[in-house]
Every structure is written in structure tokens, then in C-alpha cells.
């Protein structure tokens, strides 16, 4: 097993290096002149030049890159000029918010899309099949920010079921003591069920928005792989030996069908991370996505680089865990690796 992890990480190293280089170039190509931006409205040209020197932007690109990589090695992601905080603290405070939102979205999406896919496959060609397909496709057909705004308008503004879209927690609850950074888990650890319920209520709408947006890929993949497995020989053997339909569908067909679905989770996760950036803007969620957008628009390099690198590491870790999960479900992979 360790060897498998080692091998998997080895393949991830080049892509991480690729990410570091591309982010560095991307941020350097951004048109905005950070020095001018931070010199303030009334700055004179020489004040700007002076700021550019302090930021070290005047030195040649390769030198800047070497300094950047050296900083990275020391875990110093540099300081965000917009918020003045060191980027590493910004990321550590904001990452749990985004992670909690994306994971909640993913879980809700899985809990809805997988049964939809299974149902569509088991009753292929029937009305249920078409209905599942239409519902899943409709979800992905709207831009995520629009779905978000519609949900806020309906559930908060008109019906009042959902709480105000004011971020992770209502202003009258103090966040639970920091353990994992996930409010839901921390509040459970602290046995503060009122905060748990408040945090869950705040999380409901944004997570639902993300889930609706990612229904289609998961449902379509589940349906396709379920159809393939149901047509396979061993399902026919199971039927021929008189196993109950639920055993055939769940124990035999479903577990095999989940294999390809698990592999696409990596794709869906990075798909959600992209969409999450917009959802954070709509729901004023103090996540890492909206932080990166502001930094990108303000041409503030450090947070953008920090954000992208964290996402890359997160993506590699997620792929690793998916491979391990795959190994658990499918013995063939475990033996051969």
C-alpha cells in the first residue's frame, strides 16, 4: 500500500511543479501594476517606483522566480497586499470554509445523483429514466451564480425558510472552538447543538446550489456504468441463481458500478472548486475562492499563488484518497499494484 501511495505521489510531483510555474507566469502577466494600485490614488510616480522596489517587482523575472520558490520552500507564501495578512494564515482560516462548503455540496450531490442514476438505469427507457435525466441536466444548465441567487430569492426572501445569506454563521452565534475548522464538526465536538443547527442552516443553500450544479455529471456517469454492469454476465448469473432483486442490484451491480463513478470524483471535485468561487461571492461565504478572486482582480500575486498551490495539493491528496478508496472497493487494483 505504501508503495502505491509513493508511486501515486511521484506522478503528482511534476504536475505540482507545473502548477507552480504556471501560476508564477500567470500572475506576472496580469496587466495590473500592483505597485501603482498600492501607492494609492494621490501617489506620485517616484512613490510608485519606490513601492515597486520594496515589493521586489523591478528585478528580472527569473530572479523573482528563484526568490519565490525559495520562499515557498520555507512555507512562506508571502503577504497579501490587499488584506495585509500573511497569505498562509489567510488560507488556513479560509480553507476550512471552502472545504466544508465543497464537501457538503459533493455529499448532497452524491446522495441525490447516485440514486437518480441507479433508478434511471434499473428502469431504463421508462418515464423514470427520462425524468432523472431531465432533472439532472436541468441542474447543470443554469449558471451556478444564477441558481444561487434564485434560491436566496425564493427560500430566504420570499419564504423565509433559509437564514440570511450572511456567511458561515449568524452574527449572534460565536464560532465553535477551532478543532478542524469545519463548523459542523467543531460544534458537535463542543456539544453546542444550537450552533450546529445555525451553521447547518447557513450551509444548506450554498451546498444545495453546488449540489444542483454537479448533479448531471455524477448522475450520467452512474447511469452509464450501472447500465453496463446490469448487462454483464455475473449479474445474469446472480439472477439465474435466484438472488433477490435488491441483492442483485445493490450487492452485485451497484458496488461494481461505483468503481468508474469514484474515479470521476476527482474531476467533479475540481469542477466544484471552480463553481464554488462564484457561490462564495453570492452567499458572502468567507471561503478561499472569493479571496482568490479579489486578489486576482487586484493583481495581488501572493494570495493567488497561495490559493492555486493549496488547491493543487488538495487535488493531489484527493486523487490519492480516491485511488486508495478504489483499492478498497476493487481487489484487482490492490493485488496488482
Amino acid at each position: 500500500m505504501i508503495r502505491q501511495i509513493g508511486k501515486r505521489l511521484a506522478t503528482a510531483i511534476p504536475s505540482l511543479i507545473g502548477v507552480v510555474i504556471v501560476t508564477f507566469l500567470l500572475t506576472r502577466v496580469l496587466p495590473g501594476d500592483t505597485a501603482a494600485y498600492f501607492a494609492g490614488p494621490a501617489a506620485t510616480p517616484q512613490a510608485i517606483a519606490e513601492i515597486r522596489k520594496t515589493l521586489g517587482l523591478d528585478r528580472p523575472l527569473p530572479e523573482q522566480f528563484v526568490r519565490y520558490v525559495a520562499d515557498l520552500a520555507r512555507g512562506d507564501f508571502g503577504n497579501s497586499l490587499t488584506t495585509g495578512q500573511p497569505v498562509i494564515t489567510e488560507i488556513t482560516t479560509r480553507l476550512p470554509a471552502s472545504a466544508e462548503l465543497t464537501l457538503a455540496g459533493l455529499i448532497v450531490s452524491m446522495l441525490v445523483a447516485v440514486p437518480l442514476g441507479v433508478l434511471a438505469a434499473v428502469r431504463q427507457g421508462s418515464l423514470v429514466d427520462h425524468a432523472c435525466r431531465i432533472v439532472a441536466t436541468a441542474g447543470v444548465s443554469l449558471p451556478v451564480f444564477f441558481t444561487g441567487l434564485l434560491l436566496v430569492y425564493a427560500f430566504y426572501f420570499l419564504l423565509g425558510w433559509a437564514p440570511a445569506p450572511l456567511g458561515r454563521l449568524d452574527i449572534f452565534y460565536s464560532p465553535p472552538p477551532q478543532v478542524t475548522g469545519f463548523f459542523l464538526i467543531d460544534s458537535l465536538i463542543a456539544r453546542d447543538f444550537e450552533v450546529f443547527r445555525a451553521a447547518l442552516a447557513q450551509l444548506a443553500l450554498p451546498a444545495l446550489t453546488l449540489a444542483i450544479f454537479s448533479l448531471a455529471p455524477v448522475a450520467r456517469m452512474t447511469r452509464a456504468s450501472m447500465l453496463a454492469v446490469l448487462a454483464s454476465d455475473f449479474v445474469r448469473t446472480a439472477r439465474a441463481s435466484g438472488l433477490a432483486p435488491r441483492a442483485v442490484i445493490v450487492t452485485y451491480a451497484f458496488r461494481n458500478a461505483m468503481l468508474p463513478v469514484v474515479t470521476t470524483l476527482g474531476m467533479v471535485f475540481s469542477f466544484l472548486l471552480g463553481a464554488n468561487v462564484l457561490v462564495e461571492k453570492v452567499f458572502a461565504w468567507p471561503g478561499i475562492g472569493s479571496y482568490a478572486i479579489e486578489a486576482l482582480i487586484a493583481s495581488d500575486y501572493a494570495p493567488v499563488q497561495g490559493f492555486v498551490l493549496t488547491m493543487a495539493v488538495l487535488y493531489v491528496l484527493l486523487n490519492l484518497s480516491i485511488d486508495l478508496a478504489y483499492g478498497v472497493i476493487d481487489p484487482r487494483v490492490r493485488i496488482e499494484a
Binding site: P31, G32, D33, T34, A36, Y37, F38, A39, G40, P41, A42, A43, T44, P45, A47, E50, S80, L81, G84, Q85, E90, T93, V108, L111, V112, P115, V118, L149, V152, Y153, Y156, F157, G160, W161, P163, A164, P165, L166, G167, I171, F172, E194, R197, A198, L200, A201, A204, L208, R246, V250, T251, K281, V282, A284, P286, S290, Y291, I297, A298, S299
Partner: protein
């Protein structure tokens, strides 16, 4: 969970998070709700220190409420009954009293005033703070220079509780400049303790920490999402504010901000788009205060350095081609003072801003264009700051459409925040839509920044004209010496010249719109266009 039930349970589980029970207030929560004020805006502070590098306008608000100044402005009620700061009346804050001399002014400090950590405030702190303001460079130093406060030698700490400012020259703006945000009083010992040789003035420390003695303290800050203040219980520089705890939440989506104020979850919604204000005002569920922005103008600037806008006739043609009324209706929703369509294209009074004589007249515009030799028109671009897109974008679309009718083919370019400042510095953009307001509400102060040949960054059109400079400098000198006669002729002179040569076409004096719940009282409009918490009350 038996595998058999696996399938049904999945669909049940999916429904759980959606039915979030509506919140029930526990008694403890309800009581603290009454003492807490929640307000929402589009953007948050990036720095708590007014002297900081690149501090944005929300940052000014934190400094204004958490630091003290020697003196502040009194209150006056405007025609529509709303309260505003009084430009001409000064009230004591840290200084109990002051006596202006011929070339100096001496302040008597409160004896019992302390910083947040309890150390008493002395003249030494004031001296250090003023020295910091004039040497740290960038915007604060410029602002001090505008009131002829330029050298540390001018500031003398006579004794622990007396502080004297010596004038370099007589300047009417000196006194008001002492009441703006920049000359705040810092806890010099605390800042020096956290300063480093690379950062002698401790700018890094004060960026995220309050080293002052103002009415409020910051207890929690998450950049880009939330700031929480607590009242400074032993604040002596004025009446103790009524509200104990203030929560400032950043909600980027205007739609959500509107929903929050309408459903009563937010006490104040600051700076909502005009349309929402117009409708909230009509609905009457919340109280809405709209105050014209003192000394502030939304204008269309043209680059006077490069052709074709270096020719006056071309600029005048543009002035006649702008669809003013269409913009007032569809973009400003009536929430602005029109600065166009005056009887004559000349100054009618000393007040600024005031309307110019141009109005929408496409025929005259076409004729002027032909006279300038551009009968078949030309191509150009209109640029604006992405941050102000809510107003600037529709405005540019209307201007583009009407300019097209006289042959000027303009493309619209949205410039993101960071690039906008660097573009303004380069002064290359042919045509821009922008907004500028001076803190000190005097015409010569506005013209000194926007029209003077020194070509400051605010002179976005890089308009340089010797005669204009003479008039502006003359007016400033006359104001300083109190010579009302020359002052009036010079002010009228430079206003007429600005209208005639129209390097920038003033469009509107926009309003600062604030929506408050009915039970919120004590809102006052301030020159810095930010919220002053100290006067607020919650029934």
C-alpha cells in the same frame, strides 16, 4: 445499516439538510441582539491605519471611529431634515479648547483622556502622530500638504496637555485640514514598541491593530467578510456612544444586501445602488437618507494632451452630445443633482459644484465637430473602473449610443481595479467616466486637485493652462488673507474657464444613499462618505 435499506435511506438522507428549522431566539441571544448593530456594505477595509500604504475608503471608516482627532465638526440639519456635518463649525474632541494666533494655533488637551490600554494621552503622542502623518509619504502626506501642514517643526508639544501648530503661511484650509481623518492621534509608545528598523513608523503593526483611544475598539476582523467592534467604555472625548457592539458584514451581492434590509436582518445597508434606494424610499418600510456628496462630481473626462480631444471644439461637441436627461432617468433614477442645462455657460455663484450651460443638442454638436475638421467623425474608447460598473456601465452605453449619432464611434472598456489606478497615472486614456470629491468643501481645493497645471493624479485629463493656474493660486491666496473681492473674481474666473474649455464635462453631483431600519437613529452624513458609529442609536 443493513445493505438492503441502503437505497431508500440514501434518498431520505438527501432531504435532511434542506429542511433547516427557522431560528428560535434564546433569551440570551435576544437581549444581545438589541445592543448590537449589524450593517452591510459591498467592500471591507484592507487596512486599519489611515497612514497605511494603499488603505481603501472602508479602511478610513475604521480609523475615523477607532482613533481620536484634536477636533471634529459640529452638526447641522439640511433642508430635507437629515443631519450632516457642519463644514464651518468645529467642536472639541481630544482638545477641550484651542486659541488660534496669527501664525499658530494652540490646543488644550483633555486631562482624563486615555488610550484603549489605559495609558493617558499626552501632547507627545499628538506630536509623534503629526510628524508621522507628514513624513510617511503617499496620500496622508499629500492631504496634510493641502492644508499647508508640511514640516514636523511646525508641531510643538508645549507640555503634557498643550500642543501648538505653527503655520508656514496663512491658509484658510489649515484649520479644516486638522479635522479630517489623517491627523489622528496614535499611541506612540505602543507603535514604537512594534516598529522595526525597516518600518520605523510601525505601519505593519497599525495595519491590523488599533493603537488609539477612539470611541470603538476592533475585537474581530476577517478580511473581506467581517469586522466586529466593541464600545470603548472609558472614552472621554465625547458623549459615550449608545450602541455597545457593532458587526460589519461584507455582502458583495447587491441583491442580497437589498433582501437583508427589506427583511429586517440588517439594521443599516450602506451605499446601495440608486435604483434600490428609490424603491426602498417609495416602499417606506425602511428610512432612507440621501445626501448630495459635498464637493463631489461624476464627470466625463477627455484627454487634453493627445488628439482629437486636445481641440476645444471637439470637447464642446462631446459636451453637447451627452444624453443628460436619459442618464438621469435610467442610470441615476433621479437620485443626483444635475450639473447641466444652466441658463448661461458661466458661473452663477461661488458655490461648487454648480450646473454648466451645455445641454443635449446633437445638431450643434455635429456643427462643432465639422468646424474642428472631423465631419466624418473618428474612433475612440470610453473607459471606466470595474468597481463603479453599476453606474458607469449603463452611463457609457447611453453616451456611446448618442456619440455614434454624431459620428464618434466609441468602444467601451471595463478596466479592473488594479489596472484602473495605473491607467489613470499614465493619463493616456482618451475618454473616461470617473468620480472625484474633495474632503475640504471649498471650490479652490477642488480645482487645486482637478484642474491645476501641477498635473496631480486627479487631473485625469492632464489639462495644463497657465491662466487657470493663476486664477486658482490667486483664489487660494485671497482666501488665506480673507480678501473676499479677489477671491470671488478668481473663483468665478476659473469656473467660467472650466465651463468654456470643458476638459471634463461635469454630469451629476451624486447622492450618498443609506437605508436604515425605522428603529435606528442618529445617522449623520460626513465629508469622508463613511459611516460614523458614535452618533448612532438603536431603539
Amino acid at each position: 445499516m443493513k445493505r438492503r435499506e441502503f437505497l431508500q435511506s440514501m434518498t431520505a438522507l438527501a432531504a435532511a439538510p434542506m429542511l433547516s428549522a427557522p431560528m428560535v431566539w434564546s433569551p440570551a441571544r435576544a437581549q444581545s441582539r438589541a445592543e448590537t448593530l449589524l450593517f452591510v456594505t459591498e467592500a471591507g477595509p484592507n487596512n486599519f491605519d489611515i497612514h497605511g500604504v494603499g488603505t481603501n475608503r472602508p479602511g478610513y471608516e475604521v480609523s475615523w471611529n477607532c482613533y481620536d482627532r484634536l477636533m471634529s465638526h459640529g452638526v447641522k440639519t439640511l433642508a430635507d431634515g437629515t443631519a450632516s456635518y457642519d463644514r464651518d463649525k468645529f467642536v472639541p474632541e481630544l482638545a477641550e479648547e484651542w486659541s488660534p494666533g496669527d501664525m499658530s494655533i494652540t490646543f488644550k488637551l483633555r486631562r482624563n483622556a486615555t488610550f484603549h490600554d489605559g495609558t493617558p494621552i499626552t501632547a507627545k503622542d499628538v506630536k509623534w502622530s503629526f510628524d508621522r502623518a507628514v513624513t510617511v509619504g503617499g496620500f496622508p502626506t499629500f492631504q496634510m500638504k493641502a492644508g499647508s501642514l508640511e514640516k514636523p517643526e511646525q508641531f510643538v508639544a508645549v507640555d503634557d496637555h498643550t500642543f501648538r501648530v505653527d503655520f508656514l503661511r496663512k491658509d484658510r484650509l489649515t484649520l479644516p485640514d486638522l479635522a479630517v481623518i489623517v491627523p489622528a492621534v496614535y499611541h506612540s509608545e505602543l507603535v514604537k514598541k512594534n516598529a522595526t528598523d525597516k518600518d520605523p513608523w510601525g505601519l505593519d503593526y497599525t495595519k491590523t491593530n488599533i493603537a488609539g483611544g477612539g470611541a470603538y475598539k476592533v475585537t474581530r476582523w476577517q478580511a473581506g467578510s467581517e469586522v466586529v467592534y466593541e464600545r470603548n467604555e472609558d472614552w472621554k472625548s465625547g458623549a459615550l456612544p449608545k450602541i455597545r457592539r457593532i458587526v460589519w458584514r461584507i455582502v458583495p451581492s447587491a441583491g442580497n444586501r437589498r433582501a437583508l434590509i427589506e427583511r429586517g436582518d440588517a439594521d443599516i445597508s450602506f451605499d446601495l445602488p440608486n435604483k434600490d434606494f428609490a424603491e426602498l424610499k417609495a416602499a417606506g418600510k425602511t428610512s432612507v437618507v440621501s445626501t448630495p456628496v459635498g464637493n463631489g462630481i461624476l464627470y466625463l473626462g477627455m484627454n487634453c494632451k493627445n488628439p482629437p480631444f486636445n481641440e476645444v471644439k471637439v470637447r464642446q461637441a462631446v459636451a453637447y452630445a451627452i444624453p443628460y436627461q436619459k442618464i438621469m432617468d435610467a442610470v441615476m433614477f433621479g437620485l443626483a443633482n444635475p450639473l447641466y442645462g444652466g441658463e448661461a455657460n458661466r458661473a452663477s455663484s461661488l458655490a461648487w459644484p454648480q450646473p454648466h450651460g451645455y445641454a443635449t443638442d446633437l445638431a450643434k454638436a455635429k456643427a462643432l465637430l465639422a468646424e474642428a475638421g472631423h465631419q466624418d467623425g473618428f474612433d475612440t474608447t470610453i473607459s471606466f473602473d470595474l468597481g463603479s460598473a453599476v453606474i458607469s456601465e449603463p452611463l457609457c452605453v447611453l453616451v456611446q449610443e448618442s456619440l455614434a449619432q454624431i459620428g464618434i464611434r466609441a468602444t467601451i472598456s471595463k478596466v479592473p481595479g488594479a489596472n484602473w489606478r495605473s491607467e489613470l497615472l499614465k493619463k493616456e486614456l482618451p475618454m473616461i467616466v470617473n468620480f472625484f470629491s474633495g474632503w475640504l468643501d471649498y471650490p479652490e481645493y477642488f480645482f487645486f486637485w482637478a484642474y491645476h497645471g501641477q498635473n496631480a493624479v486627479f487631473n485625469t485629463m492632464s489639462y495644463q493652462d497657465g491662466a487657470m493656474d493663476a486664477l486658482i493660486d490667486g483664489a487660494r491666496k485671497a482666501a488665506a488673507e480673507g480678501d473676499a473681492g479677489t477671491y470671488a473674481t478668481d473663483v468665478k474666473g476659473f469656473i467660467d474657464k472650466a465651463f468654456a474649455e470643458v476638459p471634463r464635462v461635469p454630469l451629476f453631483q451624486p447622492y450618498l444613499n443609506v437605508a436604515l431600519q425605522k428603529n435606528i437613529s442618529g445617522y449623520r452624513y460626513w465629508f469622508h462618505r463613511q459611516l460614523d458609529y458614535r452618533s448612532l442609536g438603536k431603539a
